[in-house]
Protein backbone atom coordinates (compact mmCIF):
# COMPACT_ATOMS: atom_id res chain seq x y z
CA UNK A 1 0.00 0.00 0.00
CA UNK A 2 2.78 2.41 0.92
CA UNK A 3 4.50 1.83 -2.43
CA UNK A 4 1.25 2.45 -4.31
CA UNK A 5 0.50 5.57 -2.27
CA UNK A 6 4.03 6.88 -2.81
CA UNK A 7 3.88 6.36 -6.56
CA UNK A 8 0.48 8.04 -6.72
CA UNK A 9 1.57 10.94 -4.52
CA UNK A 10 4.59 11.65 -6.74
CA UNK A 11 2.29 11.72 -9.78
CA UNK A 12 -0.23 13.89 -7.95
CA UNK A 13 2.36 16.48 -6.96
CA UNK A 14 3.66 16.62 -10.52
CA UNK A 15 0.14 17.00 -11.84
CA UNK A 16 -0.88 19.87 -9.57
CA UNK A 17 2.48 21.63 -9.92
CA UNK A 18 2.15 21.76 -13.66
CA UNK A 19 -1.61 22.27 -13.96
CA UNK A 20 -2.69 24.41 -11.03
CA UNK A 21 -1.11 27.82 -10.60
CA UNK A 22 -2.20 27.99 -6.97
CA UNK A 23 -0.21 24.89 -6.01
CA UNK A 24 2.79 25.85 -8.12
CA UNK A 25 3.00 29.24 -6.38
CA UNK A 26 2.50 27.74 -2.97
CA UNK A 27 5.26 25.18 -3.53
CA UNK A 28 7.57 27.80 -4.97
CA UNK A 29 7.00 29.96 -1.91
CA UNK A 30 8.47 27.25 0.30
CA UNK A 31 11.16 26.36 -2.24
CA UNK A 32 9.71 22.99 -3.25
CA UNK A 33 10.14 21.29 -6.62
CA UNK A 34 7.99 18.33 -7.61
CA UNK A 35 11.16 16.21 -7.57
CA UNK A 36 11.56 16.85 -3.82
CA UNK A 37 8.59 14.59 -3.15
CA UNK A 38 9.79 11.02 -3.62
CA UNK A 39 7.25 9.20 -1.50
CA UNK A 40 4.69 9.57 1.26
CA UNK A 41 7.49 10.09 3.79
CA UNK A 42 7.97 13.52 2.16
CA UNK A 43 4.34 14.56 2.57
CA UNK A 44 5.03 16.85 5.51
CA UNK A 45 7.15 19.07 3.25
CA UNK A 46 4.01 20.05 1.35
CA UNK A 47 1.84 22.99 2.39
CA UNK A 48 -1.72 22.47 3.62
CA UNK A 49 -4.87 23.36 1.70
CA UNK A 50 -8.01 24.70 3.41
CA UNK A 51 -11.62 25.49 2.58
CA UNK A 52 -10.63 29.15 2.37
CA UNK A 53 -8.22 28.30 -0.45
CA UNK A 54 -11.15 26.81 -2.34
CA UNK A 55 -13.18 29.94 -1.66
CA UNK A 56 -10.36 32.24 -2.79
CA UNK A 57 -10.14 30.32 -6.04
CA UNK A 58 -13.92 30.18 -6.55
CA UNK A 59 -15.34 28.67 -8.61
CA UNK A 60 -12.91 26.62 -10.74
CA UNK A 61 -9.48 27.99 -9.80
CA UNK A 62 -8.20 24.75 -8.30
CA UNK A 63 -9.34 22.49 -11.12
CA UNK A 64 -6.42 20.63 -12.63
CA UNK A 65 -7.95 19.69 -15.99
CA UNK A 66 -9.53 21.70 -18.83
CA UNK A 67 -13.22 22.30 -18.24
CA UNK A 68 -14.08 20.01 -21.15
CA UNK A 69 -12.87 17.11 -19.00
CA UNK A 70 -15.19 17.98 -16.10
CA UNK A 71 -18.41 15.99 -16.32
CA UNK A 72 -20.03 17.11 -13.08
CA UNK A 73 -19.76 19.66 -10.29
CA UNK A 74 -21.01 19.51 -6.73
CA UNK A 75 -20.99 22.26 -4.14
CA UNK A 76 -21.14 22.61 -0.39
CA UNK A 77 -21.36 25.54 1.99
CA UNK A 78 -18.44 27.89 2.13
CA UNK A 79 -17.57 29.78 5.29
CA UNK A 80 -19.22 32.91 3.90
CA UNK A 81 -21.53 33.61 0.99
CA UNK A 82 -19.62 31.63 -1.60
CA UNK A 83 -20.04 27.92 -2.06
CA UNK A 84 -17.18 25.46 -2.20
CA UNK A 85 -17.25 24.00 -5.69
CA UNK A 86 -15.71 20.71 -6.72
CA UNK A 87 -15.43 19.19 -10.20
CA UNK A 88 -15.23 15.57 -11.29
CA UNK A 89 -13.82 14.00 -14.43
CA UNK A 90 -15.38 10.82 -15.79
CA UNK A 91 -12.57 8.88 -14.14
CA UNK A 92 -13.24 10.66 -10.80
CA UNK A 93 -16.87 9.57 -10.96
CA UNK A 94 -15.73 5.99 -11.60
CA UNK A 95 -13.37 6.05 -8.61
CA UNK A 96 -16.09 7.58 -6.46
CA UNK A 97 -18.60 4.90 -7.49
CA UNK A 98 -16.11 2.23 -6.64
CA UNK A 99 -15.33 3.69 -3.23
CA UNK A 100 -19.03 3.89 -2.38
CA UNK A 101 -19.56 0.36 -3.74
CA UNK A 102 -16.85 -0.84 -1.35
CA UNK A 103 -18.69 0.70 1.60
CA UNK A 104 -21.91 -0.99 0.57
CA UNK A 105 -20.05 -4.31 0.43
CA UNK A 106 -18.71 -3.61 3.90
CA UNK A 107 -22.33 -3.44 5.00
CA UNK A 108 -22.82 -6.86 3.42
CA UNK A 109 -25.13 -5.56 0.74
CA UNK A 110 -24.69 -6.45 -2.92
CA UNK A 111 -26.29 -6.84 -6.30
CA UNK A 112 -29.23 -8.84 -4.97
CA UNK A 113 -30.28 -6.01 -2.69
CA UNK A 114 -32.78 -3.20 -3.14
CA UNK A 115 -31.36 0.02 -1.74
CA UNK A 116 -33.22 3.23 -1.02
CA UNK A 117 -31.14 6.39 -1.29
CA UNK A 118 -32.68 8.88 1.12
CA UNK A 119 -30.08 11.61 1.01
CA UNK A 120 -30.95 14.84 -0.76
CA UNK A 121 -30.13 14.76 -4.46
CA UNK A 122 -28.58 17.80 -6.04
CA UNK A 123 -25.48 19.85 -5.38
CA UNK A 124 -25.04 17.93 -2.12
CA UNK A 125 -22.79 14.91 -2.78
CA UNK A 126 -24.85 12.56 -0.58
CA UNK A 127 -27.65 11.65 -2.97
CA UNK A 128 -25.85 11.20 -6.26
CA UNK A 129 -22.72 9.79 -4.59
CA UNK A 130 -24.62 7.02 -2.83
CA UNK A 131 -26.79 6.46 -5.91
CA UNK A 132 -23.89 5.86 -8.32
CA UNK A 133 -22.10 3.65 -5.83
CA UNK A 134 -25.11 1.40 -5.25
CA UNK A 135 -25.78 1.23 -8.98
CA UNK A 136 -22.12 0.43 -9.64
CA UNK A 137 -22.39 -2.52 -7.30
CA UNK A 138 -25.37 -3.77 -9.27
CA UNK A 139 -27.94 -3.26 -6.54
CA UNK A 140 -31.44 -2.11 -7.41
CA UNK A 141 -31.52 1.57 -6.55
CA UNK A 142 -34.62 3.42 -5.38
CA UNK A 143 -33.77 7.15 -5.57
CA UNK A 144 -36.10 8.41 -2.84
CA UNK A 145 -34.28 11.61 -1.88
CA UNK A 146 -35.71 13.21 1.27
CA UNK A 147 -39.03 14.68 2.21
CA UNK A 148 -41.85 12.20 1.81
CA UNK A 149 -41.22 9.74 4.61
CA UNK A 150 -44.58 7.94 4.42
CA UNK A 151 -44.06 7.22 0.75
CA UNK A 152 -40.55 6.00 1.57
CA UNK A 153 -41.93 3.58 4.15
CA UNK A 154 -44.70 2.37 1.84
CA UNK A 155 -42.14 1.58 -0.87
CA UNK A 156 -39.77 0.07 1.67
CA UNK A 157 -42.51 -2.44 2.52
CA UNK A 158 -43.94 -2.92 -0.99
CA UNK A 159 -40.56 -3.32 -2.74
CA UNK A 160 -38.97 -5.39 0.03
CA UNK A 161 -36.15 -2.88 0.42
CA UNK A 162 -33.10 -4.45 2.12
CA UNK A 163 -30.73 -1.51 2.42
CA UNK A 164 -30.96 2.22 2.99
CA UNK A 165 -28.50 5.10 2.76
CA UNK A 166 -29.38 8.33 4.58
CA UNK A 167 -28.40 10.50 7.52
CA UNK A 168 -28.65 8.71 10.89
CA UNK A 169 -31.10 11.27 12.29
CA UNK A 170 -33.35 10.82 9.28
CA UNK A 171 -33.22 7.05 9.72
CA UNK A 172 -34.41 7.40 13.31
CA UNK A 173 -37.23 9.56 12.05
CA UNK A 174 -38.05 6.95 9.41
CA UNK A 175 -38.10 4.30 12.16
CA UNK A 176 -40.70 6.32 14.02
CA UNK A 177 -42.84 6.64 10.93
CA UNK A 178 -42.56 2.88 10.33
CA UNK A 179 -43.81 2.41 13.88
CA UNK A 180 -46.65 4.88 13.44
CA UNK A 181 -47.71 3.13 10.25
CA UNK A 182 -47.64 -0.21 12.06
CA UNK A 183 -45.21 -1.64 9.50
CA UNK A 184 -42.31 -2.66 11.75
CA UNK A 185 -42.98 -6.38 11.16
CA UNK A 186 -43.30 -5.94 7.42
CA UNK A 187 -39.95 -4.42 6.55
CA UNK A 188 -37.12 -6.51 5.11
CA UNK A 189 -34.33 -4.05 5.88
CA UNK A 190 -30.96 -5.68 6.62
CA UNK A 191 -28.52 -2.81 6.80
CA UNK A 192 -28.21 0.96 6.73
CA UNK A 193 -25.25 3.07 5.70
CA UNK A 194 -25.51 6.39 7.45
CA UNK A 195 -23.41 9.50 7.36
CA UNK A 196 -23.16 13.18 6.45
CA UNK A 197 -23.59 14.26 10.06
CA UNK A 198 -22.04 13.45 13.43
CA UNK A 199 -23.63 10.63 15.40
CA UNK A 200 -22.70 8.54 18.35
CA UNK A 201 -22.17 4.84 19.00
CA UNK A 202 -25.26 5.02 21.22
CA UNK A 203 -27.33 6.33 18.35
CA UNK A 204 -25.96 3.60 16.07
CA UNK A 205 -27.00 0.92 18.56
CA UNK A 206 -30.36 2.58 18.96
CA UNK A 207 -30.94 2.34 15.21
CA UNK A 208 -29.81 -1.29 15.13
CA UNK A 209 -32.10 -2.23 17.99
CA UNK A 210 -35.12 -0.34 16.74
CA UNK A 211 -34.99 -1.63 13.18
CA UNK A 212 -33.23 -4.98 13.80
CA UNK A 213 -30.57 -4.14 11.25
CA UNK A 214 -26.85 -3.42 11.03
CA UNK A 215 -26.02 0.29 10.89
CA UNK A 216 -22.76 1.41 9.31
CA UNK A 217 -20.99 4.73 9.58
CA UNK A 218 -19.91 6.22 6.25
CA UNK A 219 -17.64 9.25 6.03
CA UNK A 220 -16.82 11.66 3.30
CA UNK A 221 -16.72 15.30 2.37
CA UNK A 222 -17.33 16.92 -0.97
CA UNK A 223 -13.93 18.60 -1.14
CA UNK A 224 -12.22 15.21 -0.96
CA UNK A 225 -14.86 13.35 -2.99
CA UNK A 226 -18.17 12.89 -1.19
CA UNK A 227 -19.46 9.91 0.78
CA UNK A 228 -17.31 6.81 0.55
CA UNK A 229 -13.95 8.12 1.75
CA UNK A 230 -14.26 5.75 4.72
CA UNK A 231 -16.80 3.36 6.25
CA UNK A 232 -16.95 0.84 9.08
CA UNK A 233 -17.32 -2.90 8.56
CA UNK A 234 -19.57 -5.25 10.51
CA UNK A 235 -17.15 -5.23 13.46
CA UNK A 236 -17.63 -1.46 13.88
CA UNK A 237 -14.08 -0.96 15.07
CA UNK A 238 -13.41 2.22 13.15
CA UNK A 239 -13.92 3.42 9.60
CA UNK A 240 -11.82 1.79 6.87
CA UNK A 241 -10.29 4.46 4.67
CA UNK A 242 -10.10 3.98 0.90
CA UNK A 243 -6.44 4.87 1.32
CA UNK A 244 -5.41 3.78 -2.14
CA UNK A 245 -7.25 6.95 -3.23
CA UNK A 246 -7.10 9.15 -0.16
CA UNK A 247 -3.91 9.43 1.83
CA UNK A 248 -4.80 10.23 5.45
CA UNK A 249 -2.75 12.10 8.04
CA UNK A 250 -3.65 13.15 11.55
CA UNK A 251 -2.05 16.40 12.70
CA UNK A 252 -2.21 18.47 15.84
CA UNK A 253 -4.88 21.11 15.10
CA UNK A 254 -2.74 23.89 16.57
CA UNK A 255 0.84 23.03 15.65
CA UNK A 256 -0.11 21.10 12.47
CA UNK A 257 2.59 18.57 13.35
CA UNK A 258 1.79 14.90 12.69
CA UNK A 259 0.61 12.90 15.72
CA UNK A 260 1.02 9.19 16.45
CA UNK A 261 -1.56 6.49 15.81
CA UNK A 262 -4.28 6.56 18.45
CA UNK A 263 -3.82 10.25 19.22
CA UNK A 264 -6.71 12.55 18.37
CA UNK A 265 -6.00 15.34 15.94
CA UNK A 266 -7.25 16.92 12.77
CA UNK A 267 -7.78 14.67 9.78
CA UNK A 268 -5.93 15.70 6.62
CA UNK A 269 -6.34 14.12 3.18
CA UNK A 270 -4.37 14.15 -0.03
CA UNK A 271 -6.43 12.91 -2.97
CA UNK A 272 -4.00 10.52 -4.62
CA UNK A 273 -5.93 9.76 -7.80
CA UNK A 274 -8.29 12.67 -8.22
CA UNK A 275 -8.13 14.49 -11.55
CA UNK A 276 -10.77 17.23 -11.44
CA UNK A 277 -9.82 19.01 -8.25
CA UNK A 278 -6.90 17.20 -6.62
CA UNK A 279 -6.16 18.37 -3.10
CA UNK A 280 -2.84 18.29 -1.31
CA UNK A 281 -3.00 17.96 2.47
CA UNK A 282 -6.56 19.21 2.73
CA UNK A 283 -7.50 20.08 6.31
CA UNK A 284 -10.91 18.53 6.92
CA UNK A 285 -11.19 20.19 10.38
CA UNK A 286 -12.70 16.90 11.58
CA UNK A 287 -11.12 15.57 14.77
CA UNK A 288 -10.36 11.86 15.02
CA UNK A 289 -7.51 9.39 15.46
CA UNK A 290 -6.13 6.69 13.18
CA UNK A 291 -4.97 3.09 13.54
CA UNK A 292 -3.03 0.91 11.09
CA UNK A 293 -3.69 -2.40 12.87
CA UNK A 294 -5.37 -5.12 10.85
CA UNK A 295 -9.11 -5.27 11.53
CA UNK A 296 -10.97 -8.38 12.70
CA UNK A 297 -12.63 -8.43 9.29
CA UNK A 298 -9.23 -9.00 7.71
CA UNK A 299 -8.98 -5.65 5.95
CA UNK A 300 -5.58 -4.02 6.34
CA UNK A 301 -6.56 -0.46 5.47
CA UNK A 302 -6.05 2.32 7.99
CA UNK A 303 -9.07 3.00 10.18
CA UNK A 304 -10.45 6.19 11.67
CA UNK A 305 -11.98 6.23 15.13
CA UNK A 306 -15.39 7.76 15.66
CA UNK A 307 -15.30 11.51 15.02
CA UNK A 308 -14.83 13.66 18.07
CA UNK A 309 -15.91 17.03 16.75
CA UNK A 310 -14.51 19.86 14.69
CA UNK A 311 -11.53 22.14 15.00
CA UNK A 312 -13.57 25.02 13.56
CA UNK A 313 -17.08 26.34 14.23
CA UNK A 314 -18.82 24.49 11.41
CA UNK A 315 -22.11 22.85 12.36
CA UNK A 316 -23.76 19.99 10.57
CA UNK A 317 -27.52 20.43 10.67
CA UNK A 318 -29.69 17.89 8.89
CA UNK A 319 -26.61 16.86 6.96
CA UNK A 320 -25.97 20.39 5.76
CA UNK A 321 -22.73 22.19 6.62
CA UNK A 322 -23.46 25.50 8.28
CA UNK A 323 -20.98 28.16 9.33
CA UNK A 324 -22.17 30.86 11.76
CA UNK A 325 -20.34 33.37 9.56
CA UNK A 326 -22.87 32.62 6.79
CA UNK A 327 -25.71 33.82 9.03
CA UNK A 328 -23.80 36.95 9.87
CA UNK A 329 -23.10 37.67 6.21
CA UNK A 330 -26.79 37.19 5.35
CA UNK A 331 -27.91 39.58 8.11
CA UNK A 332 -25.38 42.21 7.10
CA UNK A 333 -26.44 41.95 3.50
CA UNK A 334 -30.10 42.34 4.43
CA UNK A 335 -29.18 45.43 6.42
CA UNK A 336 -32.43 45.48 8.35
CA UNK A 337 -31.23 44.13 11.65
CA UNK A 338 -28.11 44.22 13.73
CA UNK A 339 -25.61 41.50 12.91
CA UNK A 340 -26.00 40.21 16.46
CA UNK A 341 -27.49 36.79 16.38
CA UNK A 342 -27.65 33.53 18.28
CA UNK A 343 -28.13 30.13 16.70
CA UNK A 344 -29.91 27.53 18.78
CA UNK A 345 -29.56 24.05 17.39
CA UNK A 346 -31.68 21.27 18.80
CA UNK A 347 -32.83 17.81 17.92
CA UNK A 348 -36.56 17.24 18.33
CA UNK A 349 -37.97 13.84 17.42
CA UNK A 350 -34.61 12.98 15.87
CA UNK A 351 -34.76 15.89 13.48
CA UNK A 352 -32.43 18.84 13.78
CA UNK A 353 -33.98 22.24 14.22
CA UNK A 354 -32.35 25.63 13.93
CA UNK A 355 -33.61 28.78 15.55
CA UNK A 356 -31.88 32.07 14.90
CA UNK A 357 -32.45 34.85 17.39
CA UNK A 358 -31.93 38.32 16.01
CA UNK A 359 -31.82 41.55 17.97
CA UNK A 360 -34.36 44.19 17.01
CA UNK A 361 -32.94 47.67 17.26
CA UNK A 362 -35.01 50.81 17.58
CA UNK A 363 -34.40 51.82 13.98
CA UNK A 364 -35.56 48.49 12.61
CA UNK A 365 -38.72 47.72 14.47
CA UNK A 366 -42.20 48.90 13.71
CA UNK A 367 -45.29 49.78 15.69
CA UNK A 368 -47.24 47.23 13.64
CA UNK A 369 -47.16 43.50 14.30
CA UNK A 370 -47.61 42.68 10.63
CA UNK A 371 -44.49 44.69 9.77
CA UNK A 372 -42.52 42.79 12.39
CA UNK A 373 -43.87 39.54 11.00
CA UNK A 374 -42.79 40.64 7.53
CA UNK A 375 -39.33 41.41 8.89
CA UNK A 376 -39.14 38.00 10.57
CA UNK A 377 -40.07 36.32 7.31
CA UNK A 378 -37.57 38.37 5.35
CA UNK A 379 -34.76 37.44 7.73
CA UNK A 380 -35.77 33.77 7.60
CA UNK A 381 -35.77 33.82 3.80
CA UNK A 382 -32.37 35.53 3.64
CA UNK A 383 -30.84 32.98 6.02
CA UNK A 384 -32.49 30.11 4.18
CA UNK A 385 -30.98 31.35 0.92
CA UNK A 386 -27.58 31.60 2.55
CA UNK A 387 -27.43 28.19 4.22
CA UNK A 388 -30.01 26.12 2.36
CA UNK A 389 -31.95 25.20 5.47
CA UNK A 390 -35.30 26.36 6.77
CA UNK A 391 -34.89 28.27 10.01
CA UNK A 392 -37.14 29.69 12.66
CA UNK A 393 -36.34 33.34 13.32
CA UNK A 394 -37.09 34.88 16.67
CA UNK A 395 -36.85 38.61 17.29
CA UNK A 396 -35.37 39.51 20.64
CA UNK A 397 -34.75 42.76 22.49
CA UNK A 398 -31.49 44.59 21.86
CA UNK A 399 -28.40 43.73 23.89
CA UNK A 400 -29.92 40.47 25.08
CA UNK A 401 -27.57 38.34 23.02
CA UNK A 402 -24.43 37.78 24.95
CA UNK A 403 -21.29 39.50 23.74
CA UNK A 404 -18.08 38.14 25.05
CA UNK A 405 -14.84 40.05 25.03
CA UNK A 406 -13.26 37.92 22.36
CA UNK A 407 -15.22 35.81 19.97
CA UNK A 408 -18.91 36.29 20.63
CA UNK A 409 -21.03 33.30 21.46
CA UNK A 410 -23.07 32.59 18.37
CA UNK A 411 -24.13 29.01 18.84
CA UNK A 412 -25.94 26.97 21.45
CA UNK A 413 -26.02 23.37 20.35
CA UNK A 414 -28.43 21.39 22.50
CA UNK A 415 -27.98 18.16 20.56
CA UNK A 416 -26.31 15.37 22.45
CA UNK A 417 -23.51 13.59 20.65
CA UNK A 418 -22.12 11.51 23.47
Amino acid sequence: MTALQSARLVKLVNRVYHNVEYYRKKMQQVGLEPGDIKGIEDITKLPFTTKNDLRDNYPFGLFAVPKTEIVRVHASSGTTGKATVVGYTRRDIEVWQECVARTISMADLGKDDIIQIAYGYGLFTGGLGAHYGAENLGATVVPMSTGNTKKLVTMMVDFGVTGIMCTPSYLLHIAEVIDEMGQMDNIKLKAAICGAEPWTEKMRLQIEEKLHIRAHDIYGLSEVMGPGVACDCKYHKGLHIAEDHFLPEIVDADTLEPVADGVTGELVFSTLTKEGIPLIRYRTKDLTSITHETCECGRTTARLSRFKGRSDDMLIIRGVNVFPSQIEAALLELGETTPHYLMIVDRVNNLDSLEVQVEVEERFFSDEIKELEKLTKKIATAIQHAIGLAVKVKLVAPKTIERSMGKSVHVIDNRKFD
Binding site: V360, E361, E362, R363, F365, D367, E368, I369, L372, E373, K394, L395, V396, A397, P398, K399, T400
Partner: protein, 142 residues
Protein backbone atom coordinates in the same frame (compact mmCIF):
# COMPACT_ATOMS: atom_id res chain seq x y z
CA UNK B 1 -53.00 66.89 14.26
CA UNK B 2 -51.14 63.74 15.22
CA UNK B 3 -50.05 62.78 18.68
CA UNK B 4 -46.92 60.80 19.46
CA UNK B 5 -47.29 57.25 20.57
CA UNK B 6 -44.41 55.64 22.42
CA UNK B 7 -43.95 52.14 20.98
CA UNK B 8 -41.77 49.61 22.78
CA UNK B 9 -40.58 46.16 21.67
CA UNK B 10 -41.01 43.63 24.44
CA UNK B 11 -39.68 40.14 24.79
CA UNK B 12 -42.07 37.68 26.35
CA UNK B 13 -40.47 37.29 29.72
CA UNK B 14 -41.23 38.09 33.30
CA UNK B 15 -40.35 41.63 34.32
CA UNK B 16 -40.06 43.34 30.97
CA UNK B 17 -43.11 45.56 31.57
CA UNK B 18 -41.95 46.43 35.02
CA UNK B 19 -38.61 47.61 33.73
CA UNK B 20 -40.37 50.05 31.40
CA UNK B 21 -42.85 51.43 33.90
CA UNK B 22 -40.03 51.91 36.42
CA UNK B 23 -38.10 54.05 33.95
CA UNK B 24 -41.21 56.13 33.15
CA UNK B 25 -41.91 56.68 36.84
CA UNK B 26 -38.34 57.73 37.57
CA UNK B 27 -38.64 60.37 34.86
CA UNK B 28 -41.97 61.64 36.08
CA UNK B 29 -43.76 60.56 32.91
CA UNK B 30 -47.48 59.90 33.20
CA UNK B 31 -49.08 57.13 31.18
CA UNK B 32 -52.55 58.04 29.87
CA UNK B 33 -53.19 54.94 27.87
CA UNK B 34 -51.52 51.62 27.30
CA UNK B 35 -52.13 48.76 24.93
CA UNK B 36 -50.20 45.55 24.51
CA UNK B 37 -50.23 43.65 21.23
CA UNK B 38 -48.87 40.20 21.85
CA UNK B 39 -47.63 37.41 19.61
CA UNK B 40 -46.35 34.04 20.74
CA UNK B 41 -42.82 35.40 20.90
CA UNK B 42 -42.81 39.08 21.58
CA UNK B 43 -45.10 41.98 22.34
CA UNK B 44 -45.50 45.56 21.23
CA UNK B 45 -46.36 48.01 23.93
CA UNK B 46 -48.11 51.14 22.70
CA UNK B 47 -48.53 54.07 25.06
CA UNK B 48 -49.76 57.63 25.16
CA UNK B 49 -47.64 59.43 27.74
CA UNK B 50 -47.15 62.96 29.06
CA UNK B 51 -43.65 63.35 27.58
CA UNK B 52 -43.07 60.91 24.71
CA UNK B 53 -39.66 62.35 23.62
CA UNK B 54 -38.17 62.04 27.08
CA UNK B 55 -39.71 58.59 27.47
CA UNK B 56 -38.16 57.36 24.25
CA UNK B 57 -34.77 58.79 25.13
CA UNK B 58 -34.72 57.28 28.60
CA UNK B 59 -35.89 53.87 27.43
CA UNK B 60 -33.30 53.79 24.63
CA UNK B 61 -30.60 54.79 27.11
CA UNK B 62 -31.59 51.72 29.11
CA UNK B 63 -31.09 49.57 26.01
CA UNK B 64 -34.78 49.11 25.27
CA UNK B 65 -36.09 49.36 21.70
CA UNK B 66 -38.50 52.29 21.72
CA UNK B 67 -39.69 54.62 19.01
CA UNK B 68 -42.29 57.32 18.40
CA UNK B 69 -45.17 56.80 16.02
CA UNK B 70 -47.78 59.27 14.80
CA UNK B 71 -51.29 58.26 15.80
CA UNK B 72 -54.66 60.01 15.86
CA UNK B 73 -56.48 60.69 19.11
CA UNK B 74 -60.21 61.18 18.72
CA UNK B 75 -62.13 62.63 21.61
CA UNK B 76 -65.25 60.68 22.44
CA UNK B 77 -68.17 61.95 24.44
CA UNK B 78 -69.70 59.68 27.01
CA UNK B 79 -72.93 58.87 25.18
CA UNK B 80 -74.45 56.13 23.08
CA UNK B 81 -73.38 55.98 19.44
CA UNK B 82 -70.07 57.90 19.37
CA UNK B 83 -68.04 54.88 18.28
CA UNK B 84 -70.55 54.07 15.57
CA UNK B 85 -70.30 57.63 14.25
CA UNK B 86 -66.51 57.44 14.23
CA UNK B 87 -66.33 54.16 12.38
CA UNK B 88 -68.98 55.20 9.91
CA UNK B 89 -66.82 58.14 8.93
CA UNK B 90 -63.69 56.04 8.62
CA UNK B 91 -65.29 53.19 6.72
CA UNK B 92 -67.17 55.68 4.58
CA UNK B 93 -63.85 57.17 3.50
CA UNK B 94 -62.61 53.67 2.64
CA UNK B 95 -59.89 53.77 5.28
CA UNK B 96 -58.60 50.68 7.06
CA UNK B 97 -57.66 50.66 10.72
CA UNK B 98 -54.27 49.15 11.55
CA UNK B 99 -54.84 49.17 15.29
CA UNK B 100 -56.68 51.12 17.95
CA UNK B 101 -57.14 51.31 21.69
CA UNK B 102 -59.14 53.33 24.15
CA UNK B 103 -58.00 56.04 26.49
CA UNK B 104 -59.83 57.49 29.45
CA UNK B 105 -58.77 60.04 32.02
CA UNK B 106 -61.11 61.33 34.72
CA UNK B 107 -62.41 63.98 32.33
CA UNK B 108 -61.67 62.78 28.82
CA UNK B 109 -62.44 59.66 26.84
CA UNK B 110 -60.67 59.06 23.55
CA UNK B 111 -59.88 56.47 20.91
CA UNK B 112 -56.29 56.17 19.68
CA UNK B 113 -56.13 55.14 16.04
CA UNK B 114 -53.56 54.19 13.46
CA UNK B 115 -54.94 53.76 9.96
CA UNK B 116 -53.59 52.86 6.56
CA UNK B 117 -53.99 56.46 5.46
CA UNK B 118 -53.45 58.86 8.30
CA UNK B 119 -53.75 62.16 6.37
CA UNK B 120 -56.98 61.07 4.76
CA UNK B 121 -58.32 60.01 8.14
CA UNK B 122 -57.66 63.46 9.61
CA UNK B 123 -59.40 65.12 6.68
CA UNK B 124 -62.39 62.78 6.90
CA UNK B 125 -62.74 63.29 10.65
CA UNK B 126 -62.45 67.05 10.34
CA UNK B 127 -65.06 67.11 7.62
CA UNK B 128 -67.37 65.15 9.88
CA UNK B 129 -66.61 67.58 12.73
CA UNK B 130 -65.26 64.87 14.94
CA UNK B 131 -63.06 66.23 17.70
CA UNK B 132 -59.39 65.34 17.25
CA UNK B 133 -57.09 65.94 20.21
CA UNK B 134 -53.86 67.75 19.40
CA UNK B 135 -50.50 67.26 21.05
CA UNK B 136 -50.74 70.26 23.37
CA UNK B 137 -54.03 69.16 24.80
CA UNK B 138 -53.01 65.55 24.90
CA UNK B 139 -49.84 65.73 26.98
CA UNK B 140 -51.46 67.96 29.58
CA UNK B 141 -54.59 65.98 30.17
CA UNK B 142 -55.96 65.76 33.67
Amino acid sequence: MFVKQLTVFLENKVGSLQEITDILRENNINVFSISLADTSEYGLLRMIVSNPELGREQLCNAGISARLTDVIAVRLENRVGTLAELFNVIAGADIGIEYMYAMATSKTGAMILKTNNQEKTIAALQAARIHILDENTMYHLQ
